[in-house]
């Protein structure tokens, strides 16, 4: 099928070429079929040569002096483009013609060198068949050579450019409009020049330059084809600029013009594409580095904290330069509280990402030292001022106690946090606002306190979530609140996905978005179920959580102490013996059954028998403190089940 199309295309191209001949039917300044053959070999492979050979024979038979002459000419016309394609492939030619070297390869190897073959075979055949005398051989050779070469220079890039419409990203309507405009202008200018008695052909060049500069090969190659066709047609008719002068003069003018047009179009287009790609590569590299840096500076995961579920997202901007600077963090504090931060460093790119990393670590360090919001923000402010960091940082920092639900917050110029209560009602935390960190010389960071009831969701985010071009921030905030109400029942992960999906739209992310979502989970309604990292510092958090639960269940203090100690011993065993070098989790579950507490401490590790460390009192203490202790081992890990009757309803 392809072969048939190529053959037909070749034949029609030849008819067109003959129609453009200057004298009778054998001095043709532009021979399109050669260009068609080269393009066909480059696009579909050189194995298509039989199609070209047959078509070339069909073209040459009626205009040659006999069958052998037609065969010889057809052979020359097939071998030349075949060699052209071979040479181009050998030098690593890219048919996208998007590098200067590809453009140069087409000119020197594809056109000038390869067409020596067809010109030599063709002109010698003319001589041998008696069509021309020896004295006309040089001029016949020259006309043949330039005609074939022009065919390659003008037609091949055009056909290759057509393939690009399928391979490259499609043009926007605006680009299409520009392409139509440039071709219309070019046709008008070419025709005007063709009919004018004055030498106005050079006026075409800037238009071809426009096409190459703005739209590259996809517009430049068609433009060159149109310009060359019009000029050649006008020369064939002896119009305008070709009205006077000898055949040689006409030929020289035309070939010089066509060569200029062809070279300007695709060499210029290749240079522009090359430079654009270099700039794009640079931008892509910066974007990638900033994204990687940004991601590596964000928390790798969310900590396990009893009493809350957490989810977080970071979405880098799609645009090359807008990445970087947004962050969130969750800092588990020694007392079982949580420090939560969300912030945005003004500016984008590598600098913003780097500053973000420093500020994030500063927040962590200050939080561990003195976790109050006021002190953390003051610390970060002082650090930024002392270091002379030029950036402006908006930052909301919260100190949250999962056991009591108490929340202390201070907001330095950041969009307000959204609270969604268990019933789906939303409110923004708009108090305790202060200017962004690092802006003013002396800053005060007021705090506000809230209590989050169980089932409350807190959404912290950066401005990219609510700010969009053409939409006011208030509209963004309203949409966020509305979506949050509608999806208050969703799990946190799907809530995150939904908010991002709905608010960011489909047309790319204009600005980074960081999002941190926290939901409070009741620690006292029903059984207690907590998962903690099996490390020593988790023990205290486990006790705080269990203590809170036992008190809410009205269990007396003597029972409370014993249960806490038994559970602490079981957990300490998990910490010390359940896992190897990589820590796992421990799961503590407590249920109230009639007048008893059932306690389960589970690990997912291969239990090592308790080493004789710590006196080995762990299990013994558990047995003393509780009514019953069972140690169940299964392939997944170990579970310690403990029961104890308790006094409820009064202190011990």
């Amino acid at each position: 099928m392809t072969a048939l199309l190529v053959a037909v295309g070749y034949y029609l191209g030849a008819r067109l070429g003959l129609g453009l001949s200057l004298v009778e039917e054998n001095v043709t300044p532009l021979w399109p079929p050669t260009g068609i053959a080269v393009a066909a070999f480059l696009l579909f492979g050189r194995s298509l040569w039989p199609a070209v050979a047959v078509a070339a024979f069909a073209v040459n038979l009626p205009i040659s002096e006999g069958l052998p002459a037609a065969l010889a000419t057809a052979a020359g016309n097939t071998v030349a483009p075949w060699v052209a394609a071979l040479l181009l492939e050998r030098v690593g030619f890219r048919r996208q013609l998007d590098r200067l070297r590809d453009a140069a390869a087409v000119v020197f190897l594809g056109a000038l060198a390869s067409m020596l073959i067809s010109a030599t075979i063709g002109s010698l055949t003319l001589l041998a068949s008696g069509a021309i005398e020896v004295d006309r051989l040089p001029s016949a050779w020259a006309v043949w050579w330039t005609g074939d070469a022009m065919g390659v220079l003008v037609v091949t890039p055009f056909l290759l450019s057509l393939a690009l419409f399928r391979e490259l990203p499609p043009w926007s309507p605006v680009r299409w409009a520009e392409a139509v405009a440039v071709l219309a202008t070019l046709t008008a200018v070419s025709l005007a020049a063709a009919y004018s008695e004055r030498q106005l052909l050079f006026l075409v060049l800037p238009v071809v330059g426009w096409a190459a500069w703005r739209l590259q090969l996809r517009a430049a190659a068609p433009a060159a084809l149109v310009a060359a066709m019009v000029a050649t047609w006008s020369a064939a008719r002896g119009l305008g600029p070709f009205h006077h002068g000898s055949l040689l003069e006409q030929m020289l003018t035309l070939q010089a013009f066509n060569a200029c047009i062809a070279l300007t179009s695709f060499i210029f287009a290749a240079m522009v594409t090359e430079r654009m790609r270099a700039a794009e590569d640079r931008a892509t590299r910066d974007h990638t580095i900033a994204t990687i840096l940004q991601r590596s500076l964000l928390p790798a995961g969310m900590p396990e904290v009893p009493g809350v579920t957490l989810a977080a997202r970071y979405v880098p901007a799609t645009s090359d330069v807008q990445v970087g600077g947004d962050w969130y963090d969750v800092v588990p504090l020694p007392g079982g509280q949580l420090g939560l931060a969300i912030g945005d460093v003004a500016g984008h790119g590598l600098t913003a990402a780097a500053t973000m990393g420093q500020v994030r670590m500063a927040v962590r360090a200050y939080a561990l030292q003195e976790p109050s919001p006021e002190s953390v923000l003051t610390g970060v402010h002082r650090l930024m001022t002392d270091l002379g960091m030029p950036d402006m940082v908006t930052l909301t920092y919260l100190l949250f106690d999962p056991v009591t639900g108490s929340l202390r917050l201070s907001n330095a110029g950041h969009p307000p946090a959204l609270v969604i209560d268990a019933g789906g009602r939303t409110s923004y935390l708009e108090s305790a606002m202060s200017p962004p960190v690092g802006v003013t010389a002396h800053a005060a960071y007021p705090e506000v306190e809230h209590v989050l009831a169980p089932g409350t969701t807190l959404v912290l985010y950066t401005d990219g979530l609510v700010e969009r071009r053409g939409v006011s921030i208030q509209e963004g905030l309203d949409s966020l609140a509305r979506l949050a109400t509608e999806h208050a029942e969703d799990g946190l992960e799907s809530l995150c996905d939904l908010l991002l999906g709905s608010l960011l739209g489909d047309d790319g992310v204009q600005d980074d978005v960081a999002m941190l979502v926290l939901r409070t989970v009741s620690l006292v309604d029903g059984p207690l179920d907590v998962r903690l990292e099996a490390v020593p510092r988790s023990l205290r958090l486990m006790r705080a959580t269990l203590r809170h639960w036992l008190r809410a269940a009205d269990i007396g203090s003597a029972d409370e102490h014993d249960i806490l100690l038994a559970c602490g011993e079981a957990c300490a065993n998990v910490v010390q013996h359940a896992y190897g070098a990589t820590p796992g989790v421990m799961e503590v579950r407590a249920t109230l059954v009639d007048h008893g507490v059932h306690l389960s401490v589970r690990d997912r590790g291969s239990w090592r028998p308790a080493a004789d460390r710590g006196g080995g009192w762990g299990l013994q203490l558990m047995r003393e403190l509780m009514d019953s202790v069972e140690v169940l081992q299964d392939p997944e890990g170990t579970e310690v089940l403990m029961r104890r009757t308790v006094d409820t309803g009064g202190g011990a």
Binding site: P536, R537, L565, G614, G615, L621
Partner: protein, 108 residues
């Protein structure tokens, strides 16, 4: 001082009283032991470790106290612990029989 427990000492001629408050567990027992050992001068005869302010003491903390007793015995120092009768840690001291090795009183 660790963030879970505080340790401070009061020196009198021939006697040193170390007050520990807070919670002692696997995560900070070694730190507390180091602090207490450092705060007790070698030449002091009598050492009192006051656990009145301690709300939680696990078996890691108990073995820390055993080790402290050993160290002080080697240094020819006398150790006494103060654990009030109503203290939440009274039970664990009794269950581990720490009070058989180290004298425990309910007040200073």
């Amino acid at each position: 001082m660790t963030d879970l427990a505080t340790v401070d000492a009061e020196h009198a001629p021939g006697e040193c009283a170390v007050r520990v408050a807070g919670e002692i567990d696997l995560s900070n027992a070694r730190d507390v032991l180091d602090l207490v050992t450092r705060l007790v001068p070698e030449e002091t005869r009598r050492v009192v470790v006051d656990l009145s302010g301690v709300d939680y003491l696990d078996s890691a903390a108990i073995s820390m106290l055993f080790r402290l007793a050993e160290t002080l015995t080697r240094r020819r120092q006398e150790l006494r612990l103060v654990v009030p009768d109503a203290s939440p840690v009274r039970a664990v001291v009794r269950l581990t029989q720490l009070d058989r090795v180290v004298p425990v009183t309910s007040s200073l």
